[in-house]
Structure formats: C-alpha cells, structure tokens
Homo-oligomer: 254 residues x 2
Amino acid sequence: MATGRTHRPATRSRGIPEATVARLPLYLRALTALSERSVPTVSSEELAAAAGVNSAKLRKDFSYLGSYGTRGVGYDVEYLVYQISRELGLTQDWPVVIVGIGNLGAALANYGGFASRGFRVAALIDADPAMAGKPVAGIPVQHSDELEKIIKDNGVSIGVIATPAGAAQPVCDRLVAAGVTSILNFAPTVLTVPDGVDVRKVDLSIELQILAFHEQRKAGEETAAGDGALPAATTRNAAGDQGPDGDVPAVMPA
Amino acid sequence: MATGRTHRPATRSRGIPEATVARLPLYLRALTALSERSVPTVSSEELAAAAGVNSAKLRKDFSYLGSYGTRGVGYDVEYLVYQISRELGLTQDWPVVIVGIGNLGAALANYGGFASRGFRVAALIDADPAMAGKPVAGIPVQHSDELEKIIKDNGVSIGVIATPAGAAQPVCDRLVAAGVTSILNFAPTVLTVPDGVDVRKVDLSIELQILAFHEQRKAGEETAAGDGALPAATTRNAAGDQGPDGDVPAVMPA
DNA sequence: ATGCCTTTGTGAACGCGTGCACAAAGATGG
DNA sequence: CCATCTTTGTGCACGCGTTCACAAAGGCAT
C-alpha cells in the first residue's frame, strides 16, 4: 500500500533533462508568436527574453535537441517550431478525456489552448446522470459508465481529472485500468498509480498558499524594523482558525 | 529593458528553502485530513506516505520550521497543523481579487479550496460591461474601471489573472500599480513585473505538453524494438533528416 | 531506575540544474 | 580570399535539493 509511486524516477531515458522538457512548451509558445509575425530568425538572446529565461539556459536546452542554430545568425523560427513540436510529440493527435464536468471541467473543455496544440477533447465524462447528453463546449457529456468504452474506442492515453477530491482516486484507477498512461490531476489529492503511469498535478490552492507565504514574509520584513514580533500572524489560540471544532494547538509537546 | 524579473533571486530570507515551502501545503492538507479523523499523532513515515513524499525529505523540511516532533512517537497533528498554517501565513485573512471572469475565472470563483484556507474572494473583475453586476458564485462582477479602488479599499495584495493572454500584461501592470505584490497568472503569457512582486503561473496547456512528451517516449520505446530510427537527436543539420511522416519543415536553415 | 525500542533530527555525500565565460563556427564585407 | 564580427555550443564551477545512514532523544515496560 505504501508503494504508491507518484513520482517517476527520472527522465534518464536517454537524454533530455526534465527541467528542459518543462521549458520546451515555453519556447514553443514564444516561437509560435514570432512565426505568426513572420519573423524568419531569432537569436538566443531575443528568444530567451521572450520566454522569460536566461539565454545560456536556452542554448543549453536546445543543445539537448541537437544543433539547430546557425552561429552568427541565430535560429530559424519555423524550423525550430517544427523540431520542438516533434520532440514534444505535438505533431501527432492526442485524444484526451476530461472527467468531472463541474465548473473547472467545463472551463477546461472550453479552453482553447488544448486544441491549438495537438490535443483533441475526445469526450467529457461525468458521474451525474443529469449531465448526460448535455452539451458543454459543443461536446455532449457522457456518463461514467461509458468510461472504459470511450477510452478504448478512441485510443485515449491521456486523461484529465477535474472531479471532487473524493472521486479522484477511483476515477484514476478506472482510467489506468482502461489504458490511460498519463494523467493531469486537478483534484486536491495525492493519486497513487502503478509504475509506468505519469501523473502531473495542478493545485490552485497550493499556488495561492505559496504566494501567501512570500507575501507574509514581505510584510514581516517591513514591520520588523519597529517590532520584533511578527504581525498578528502569531496569533495565539486564534479561535477563528480553520477548525470545524474551534481548535487551538491545545496540545503542546512537552 | 530586458530586465523583466519573473523569477525571484531566492528565498534565502532567513531560512526555509523554496522547495520546502512548496511542499508545506501538501503536508498541511494531509494533516488536516488526519485531524478530521481525530488522529492524535503521526510518524514521519506515515505522513510522508499520505503526502506522497520521502520520509527523510519530510523530516528535513520540518527541521527548517523547528523541532516540533517527539522522538519515538512522532508529530502531534493539531500542533503541526497550527505551526504550518502560521508559517504559511494562513492564520490571517488574505483578500484576493480575480480578474477575468470567463469560464476559468468563474470556476476559480466557485472553487472551494480558496475559502477553506485563509483566502477570501474580495472581488471579481471583468472588462466586459455586460458582465457588471451579474453575480458569479454569489459575488457581483465589477467593471475593470473599479480595479484600483477595489484593491485599495480592501487592502488586496494578491491578484489572480484569468484573462485572455493579450489582456494579462496590462491588467498585471494595473494590479501592481494599485498595490498588489503577488500574482497568480493563468494566462498563457510571460508577465513582466518589478522587483518585489511575486508571480506564479499555472498553464494548463504546458502541463499537457509535458505529458505528451513522456507519452510519446513511452510509445517510442515500445516500437523502438523494430525500428532503430528513433533517437535522431544527434542528427546534424542534415537536410531532409528523419522523415517518419515525410513532413519537412518547409523552411530550412542554410 | 534501567535498558530496550522507536522515531526524530541532521551531517555528509551525491546528483541535477544553473550560469559564466570562452573557443569554435559561420556569415559578411572588403 | 582574408579579416572581422556575431552568435552558437559547451566545459566548468557552483549551489541547491535529495537521500542515506546514524547518533541522539525520548517513551515504555520491567
């Protein structure tokens, strides 16, 4: 039971570092914008600025793909778009299913960023029978019962989970059993999957909490000048705190 | 001009590594679940499993906060919930504004994960006059003209951008000018902000592209048995290089 | 009180990612 | 054809993050 592998060992497959892979979509976006403006070539410096990264890092990233630049000139935009697209696997069609058509699921279904790359929403799935047949983003929602059949009929290998936290793991299990090997998880839960299955998670609440940490630190530094104590953050027995049961630390070790 | 700071120097403020901060919300969630089940104490091993991380990493993370455990026993759940909440700044109220009430913005407004922590949606803002006054998630949408006033009146320091890509930077500039110092960006664009302002971005399309990369790699390894032409990464600028699809970039350098 | 057993907290080694700085490569102009 | 100038590709060093492994700490039973 404790064998849940959420993290993959590494991308030692035979090349491209994980950190580089994560930046390729960024470069691709910047390049696409240049392409639309019919810019023929771009230097590492310019492209790096557009993508918001260091130019040395960008050149090193590209070096993992091959030598696609021309010294003294830069990179050919169209050619690079093609190479990165191919490397990311975007030259082929990726059917995806979205499970859980609530507010977020519907937003995802309507999101243009999917279709613009090689992704195609093959189906929308929800457990609520009342949703069945109702069109969202022009696609009729199907009931969970059809999940396995949908996956197999469309050859889906990527699934998006936008269900409530409680439903995520069961849905995940069914997706994996039906043949899905990559999952994008929006539910605030740790998913346990077998080896060979990739999971990436997006958690809105976590991002905000990280921002709050830095925000608090900034505020603390300002007021720290006049007062050693942090702002009311150190509120003792903060009653209105998170607790269903107005709880206080109450239990102190020692 | 190329001075756009999207990345912060570091969190050497006086302690906690960035990687650790990013995991604290994860621990907090696991601990909250335990708390609701009235579990009094938990060992690093158990908690690590629940959060999906290595137990040594978890102990080291906690060691940055202080010595909150008891050897031979583990950690007191309630006490740890409190300490992490305090460290993350969740014991205080964080008013946030969401700008761009489209599908995604509406989904965010309805997302329960915000309110459950210290976050409170102070206002919803959209540039479309037709949206003004219309309630979303029980909160009436306000027009962009009110942005500065809303920020100042509510003391908002965290802003969420869910606008189309084109509108993101102008909105960002206005938020920052009005006093916002932390931004969560859902628009697919690189935001340029002054020093001292934190930006975190969530890009749905990028996550999918990363999954596609790994998915392609998995598929490639399978079929690689019969075909050795896969790792063409070392290909020099050879014209008409690998053409599995016979698709050539059309524009070739040289 | 004493010894055993469990679990924390952390020193140290390792590996990955980042950024610097420069030599090699190629274009361009005379 | 040669000199010069631009920009790539990368060797190298540094710092952060992860993991191992173990000594110290504390509870608990006898």
